[in-house]
């Protein structure tokens, strides 16, 4: 790692970056335009995030707040928990634990820094972690392993049974830094009674663990408050998802990303709700005018990403879609399976969805267990891809309901789970009539395949399949 990289704690750097970014539009437009000249590596991402208007500003403020919470956790007397994007942070907020979500921090750095998280990725390998592991965790974990982040108190994950490389990163880092570790374990089924019982017991064990780490008892009222706020967020998201069914889709291309980022950061807290409310306002305005959310105003194609996005610097991935008139109809990360989600009703998938019940502590625990069990990835890739409620069914269902023209898979070479079945999925989605493109890029590491090469191949697919 270069000496300069070690000079500052990386999360402090990130906080300052996003804080400054969130202030950029506080002055006049002329001031904003002049300032952009001075940030050659950040200006395009700012433009991309500010393009939907107020939601962009709110989103940047939320990102800055998230990083601020991490930086000042100790000062404020809070414990910190390194966690994963598919672990709903609601329980942490209810217990005043500051969540440090690895993958979203990696995304933030990959977007914003010229070299992305290359040094942190490599540092993991230097201390013995395998190079073939998923870059989404490595990109941030490397910084913590090198000791240039905030103090970490514990590692908490829910990916055993869902994603080995993820769970393994947590397990490794916990041993390396000698910190307590807890795993919520996921059986291969989603909806049977044994599974529900298992989740219930597991969640209770989690609460015991967190109580032990914090020295405080969980206040059910706090958790209830959080869940009620989450319910509000779910309604907004359901409304957004419903609007996305319109042709043209009134949602700007970056919306899906903002939905899932807000949910991963601030599930059940007002900071998250504020962003979503702002997004819904703009989306409704667009819908009322029957206009496309794309900046060019003309919707040529509708894409569905069956896995994750590409986080190339400066949001180049979203820009590419936007510039080419391709609206973005979601991915595995932006659907949370609340009972009021449009696809749940449409396909009568109530059993596969969750409903929040805050009646008593048992109901609250069950709700939390269900929510976690239906987080992205945790739901769809815990069992065989063609089993009920798993990846194929979800992908086809969502691609259909959103009238997608084609399906794209993008992930990382570290994703053992999806690479083990993506060819089979693509075979089936092609059979179902959806041209399907498998990208060989790494969403978090442009050294694997440069963005330029990635973009070229993507466009080539569209041309070859006569989609453009």
């Amino acid at each position: 790692m270069r000496k300069e990289t070690r000079e500052y704690k990386f999360d402090w750097m990130l906080w300052n970056t996003f804080l400054a970014a969130s202030h950029m539009k506080n002055g006049t437009d002329k001031e904003y335009r002049s300032a952009l000249k001075y940030i050659p590596y950040f200006n395009r991402i700012l433009e991309a995030i500010f393009s939907p208007g107020e939601p962009g500003k709110k989103f940047l403020e939320a990102c800055a707040k998230y990083a601020e919470n991490i930086v000042f956790a100790k000062e404020r007397g809070h414990k910190t928990a390194v966690t994963t994007f598919c672990f709903s942070p609601a329980i942490f907020y209810a217990m005043d634990i500051v969540p440090i979500c690895l993958e979203v921090l990696t995304v933030m750095m990959t977007f914003v820094y010229r070299r992305g998280t290359a040094e942190f990725l490599d540092y993991c390998n230097e201390v013995g972690f395998t190079e073939t592991s998923c870059s989404s965790q490595r990109g941030t974990v490397g910084a913590y392993l090198a000791g240039i982040g905030t103090d970490v108190d514990m590692f908490v994950t829910d990916t055993p049974g869902v994603c080995d490389t993820n769970a393994n990163a947590f397990s490794f880092a916990a041993v390396y830094l000698n910190k307590p570790f807890f795993q919520l374990d996921m059986p291969p089924d989603l909806t049977d009674s044994r599974t529900n019982e298992y989740h219930r017991e597991d969640f209770r064990a989690l609460i015991r663990f967190l109580e032990e780490q914090t020295g405080k008892k969980l206040d059910p009222e706090r958790l209830k408050e959080n869940l009620l706020e989450l319910e509000k967020q779910d309604e907004i998201i359901a409304a957004l998802e419903d609007l996305a069914r319109l042709v043209p889709c009134p949602l700007p291309v970056s919306y899906n990303f903002m939905i899932y980022a807000s949910r991963f950061f601030f599930a059940g807290t007002p900071e998250g709700t504020v962003v979503l409310e702002s997004m819904l306002k703009v989306a409704r305005e667009n819908a009322a005018k029957n206009i496309s959310g794309l900046s060019g105003g003309v919707e040529k194609l509708r894409s569905f990403f069956c896995y994750i996005d590409h986080y190339a610097q400066n949001m180049q991935f979203w820009n590419m879609l936007d510039q080419n008139g391709i609206c973005y109809q979601g991915n595995i990360l932006s659907h949370f399976w609340s009972h009021n989600a449009p696809h749940v009703a449409h396909y009568h998938k109530e059993e596969a969805a969750y409903k929040i019940n805050t009646g008593n502590m048992d109901a609250i625990i069950d709700s939390m267990g269900m929510i976690n069990s239906r987080m992205p990835m945790v739901k769809s890739i815990r069992g065989p891809y063609d089993a009920p409620n798993m990846w194929l069914e979800d992908t086809l269902g969502l691609a259909k309901i959103y009238n997608s023209d084609f399906i794209v898979y993008n992930g990382t070479p570290g994703c053992r789970n999806t690479w083990g079945m993506v060819k089979l999925l693509a075979r089936d989605t092609e059979k179902a009539g959806f041209p399907t493109y498998i990208m060989y890029a790494d969403a978090f590491d442009a050294r694997v395949q440069s963005w330029e090469a990635t973009e070229e191949r993507f466009m080539e697919f569209l041309k070859v399949r006569r989609l453009v």
Partner: protein, 383 residues
């Protein structure tokens, strides 16, 4: 003696299996050491450990699996696609790890394309990733679910009395293998690590009664053999390895693999199943609790302890930690083991390799040689 073990451990449809089938009996394959074989034994079915050994390419494996996948399940699928597992009447797939669990759908789809490639009984057997009261309960229910499915498909009854008999028999194997282990770790062991692996693997491909008889004889003979002297004593840990050729390359003429902590090795036979109590519960408890696999997250310290104990007991000079390319579970844990064992003065060497046809032997040999030289230099310095 070793010849019989050798045939059983290197030939897929070995003579025990073919005789078993000739007698009209059934064989069920399993991919992971978490599956309690005693169940099949109690049902009069031969449990057969599915491996990828013997595959010479992975064209079929690569067709269904994507790239960036460990070659172990690819080789297994390759053999299945080539019809080499057509003698199986069933297969149990376990989510041992992400790569291995996708053998489920990949094999099923290959079975749809290639006639006869998939056995008629195909079962996905879940295994928790941690050991606690509710996970044992879940796993016990899962084991009962497996038993019910076996009974239903094969039209057999697996009652508690049969299970207890099978448990006793398998515990006998484990006791024999303990004696075997003691011989292996002597100052002058009577057999090489390559031979040891042959003996251990053979136990996964033949009827347990025959195996116990052969093993008993083998141990008796070995106890009388002169030992092998003056070798550097190594322990082999890491990803699944059933490739005796690789152990041969590692041992060469200067070293001996006197201990291991491998999935196809001694990992699966230490410890016993309780013979009293509910046999399904006891099987589940033992199989879930004892396995030293990095898939059991958060249990590193216990596994480290096991390695340290083995190093002491077997008087190990150095530990070779290998992982199959893309095996992040073993690969990363090896990194931690290396850090902690080296800190205690135990020389370690990490080695990444491919599973399948034994290639890169030159590269492997060069590193092992350097490691042995390092150990010898250390010995001379101490002397």
């Amino acid at each position: 003696m070793i010849k019989q073990f050798f045939e059983a451990s290197t030939v897929i449809n070995n003579k025990y299996v073919s005789q078993w089938k000739k007698n009209g009996k059934k064989v069920v394959g399993y991919t992971c050491s978490y599956v309690p074989d005693e169940i099949f034994h109690a049902a009069g079915i031969l449990p057969f450990r599915i491996r990828g050994f013997g595959s010479t390419d992975t064209t079929i494996g690569d067709t269904y699996f994507g790239p960036f996948i460990c070659s172990l399940p690819k080789c297994m699928l390759q053999l299945a696609g080539e019809g080499k597992f057509n003698f199986l009447d069933g297969a149990i797939i376990t989510p041992g790890c992400d790569s291995m669990r996708r053998l489920d759908e990949c094999w099923r789809k290959a079975g749809g394309d290639i006639a006869g490639a998939i056995p008629p009984f195909f079962f996905h057997f879940g295994v928790p990733h941690k050991f606690s009261d509710y996970t044992i309960k879940w796993f016990t229910d899962e084991t009962r679910r497996l038993i019910a499915a076996v009974e239903d498909h094969f039209k057999v009854k697996v009652n508690n009395a049969d299970l207890k008999k099978s448990i006793k028999l398998y515990n006998k194997s484990r006791a024999l293998l303990d004696r075997f282990e003691a011989l292996r770790t002597m100052d002058t062991p009577p057999f090489t690590g390559e031979e040891a692996l042959v003996v251990i693997i053979a136990g996964t491909t033949m009827p347990r009664e025959d195996y116990n008889a052969l093993l008993e004889k083998f141990i008796a003979d070995a106890e009388k053999s002169p030992g092998i002297k003056d070798r550097v004593r190594l322990m082999l840990v890491g990803s699944a390895n059933d490739d005796i050729g690789m152990v041969r390359v590692i041992e060469g003429t200067k070293a001996l693999v006197v201990a291991d902590n491998l999935c196809f090795g001694s990992r699966f036979y230490t410890d016993r199943v309780e013979e009293e109590g509910d046999p399904v519960f006891e099987l589940s408890r033992r199989y879930l609790g004892h396995n030293d696999c990095p898939r059991m997250y958060g249990d590193y310290q216990r596994r480290l302890g096991i390695l340290e104990q083995k190093v002491r007991k077997a008087n190990i000079d150095g530990v070779i930690m290998q992982n199959i390319r893309f095996c992040d579970l073993h690969g990363a844990e090896n990194g931690l083991f290396e850090r902690d064992l080296e800190a205690k003065g135990i020389p370690c060497m990490r080695l990444e390799r491919e599973y399948g046809p034994l290639v890169e032997t030159g590269r492997m040999k060069m590193r092992v040689d350097a490691f042995i030289e390092r150990i010898q230099q250390k010995r001379r310095a101490v002397a």
